[in-house]
Amino acid sequence: MDAFIDFFSFQDPNVRLVVLGMLFISLSSSLVGSFAFLQKKSLVGDAVAHSLLPGIAIAFMLSGSKNPWVLILGALISGWISILIMDYLTKRSKIKTDTSIALVLSVMFGLGILLLTHIQHSDFGNQSGLDKFLFGKAASLTLIDIQAFGLVTLIIVALVGVFYREFKLLSFNYEFAQAIGMPVKALSFLMNTLLVLAITTGIQAVGVVLMAALLIAPAAAAKIWTYSLSKMILIAMGFALFSSLIGSFISYTYVNMPTGPWIVVILTFFTVMSLLFAPKRGVFSRMKRQRENSLKINTENILKALYHLEEGKEEFFEWHKLDKILEKRAFNKVTLTNSLKQLSRKNWIVLGEQKVKLSKAGELEARRVVRLHRLWEMYLTKRMNFKSDHIHSNAETIEHIITPEIERELILELGAPKIDPHSSKIPYAD
């Protein structure tokens, strides 16, 4: 608890640095990552992250300095080279996209490791700080680092702001952008540069291997909540920021704990929760919708059964025993009970002792479903040439789906028929 207060009161200047650094990194990675996600280039980002390593090592070897700007320059160059190579391989050789990504990723990374270990074993002076690119050492960022991150983030946010419309079109509909004469090559060049820049800062928080998570997870988590790109980006940023703060906090409190992996674990948690719980497209929403569909189907089927029991006699609103209904259509006990409850709640039936009867409103509703069934059978027969022994089972499904709007269209198209293919009367609402 003390640690919590210590951390989040931001009194410790180290904490302030870390938090600021995390802020910048989360913003740039999730922003750039959202576009990469939409273009299905998430794994390219992974390869680029691994490819920064040799550039950093060489920059250090050539300059002898660990000035972040020098190292960023080296990273930028090797990052860019990796993008060019992947592109070349896919376009000018038999090699397919996934192989080119994996190849560039592993070779560049191997080269980076080779150079890093070479540096370690030779007399290049103090080179221990290079490790932070490999694993991320969010907990030990310096002021110079923060300045670099801040500037990079500023550049990225500014450029995305300026070219927002273009980037959006490029991501959603590349061919169209080309067709209307947008300079797609130049824009792609710009987007790639921003990608490499963002990754260069990001790997210092979470390390090379886990960088992909900073790019992909926020976008994957955010997309399912909204159809709007700007909202998606904001949500992604939110998830990224939150996760990196918690991750930093954990690493602050438990000194041995590495920051990067915790950020990734928390981010993934958000992603999974979003995929499960988001409204409309989330897994649980879909399941709920399916349950609602089932309930609708079952309740409407009961109403139909009641209607059929009374149809010939033209005397509605009589009590019917439950087993009479079960004779018409088999339900399992639980389904029947739940459906009856629902029907009663809607005041479509009146519940009695092992018996039910339709209410006025219920009769209207039952009539509607029966009408839809018979109208649909007419449609199948007249417009789709279905054979008479096929129409019933089809109508059994579709009667539950037809909306009032489609009903109107059906009546119009069929000319308000009076009887269905089985010569039963089609009951209209009078």
Binding site: R329, M384, K387, H390, T397, I401, I406, E413
Partner: protein, 268 residues
Amino acid sequence: MSEETFDLALEVHNLTVSYNRKPVLWDIDFSLPQGKLIGIVGPNGSGKTTLLKTIMGLLDPDSGYVEIKGEPMEKVRNQISYVPQRESVDWDFPADVMDVVKMGRYQKSNILKRLSQDDKRIAIESLEKVDLLEFSKRQIGELSGGQQQRVFIARALAQQGDIYLMDEPFVGVDAATEDAILQLLVEMKSKGKTVIIVHHDLQTAYEYFDWMVLLNTRLVACGPKEEVFTKEKLQEAYGGRLTVLSKIGDLISNKEFPIREKGFSEKK
């Protein structure tokens, strides 16, 4: 449909199939006779390839079933020869013509064993039938479209089935190859084989086939070509969309409605 009695090669009952949660085939019901050249035609998106794949057992139907010579597909797999769409394969794959044709001799039962001399002989004969024997060592990526199609057909021939199912075998193929393939099919028919082809081109369909299945999400017609290829039937299949039907399809997909009610049985 015709009233003649005939030995049935294929029977499809009440088949409803969805793709991406949207129904693509509605309650399809038809029978096909043996020993004929049969074309499955219909506009784009009418479900032709879906139908073929469902017959082959590559897709699961929401309802209904398929019988081949009166049996389920599982029992008669070794009597069926299948030619998938040419674009379904990556032609950069490291294989030569003979490698692909030999695959026609692969079966579940012998997948772990080496091919026999007999298998190799059959492969050679199949290549001869499509006139590609001198190309046996050619890498498949170096072939023209027509040659690639012929390789696929040679593979199907190597399967030595009674019933051939082919998915758009004439797409992107030059005229000479098309003629050659057609001749081959006619020869197969004369030997009593049944050939069922999803065909993309209405104009040549009448010329090529004896029987036709006219499809547009639901069955429009099935029978000898003279009965199917009428103005009314073609108009029905090709003329304009069934807007109500497609709206329903969209609703089913968006609301994730079940295509068939599960676990109910109705008593009339």
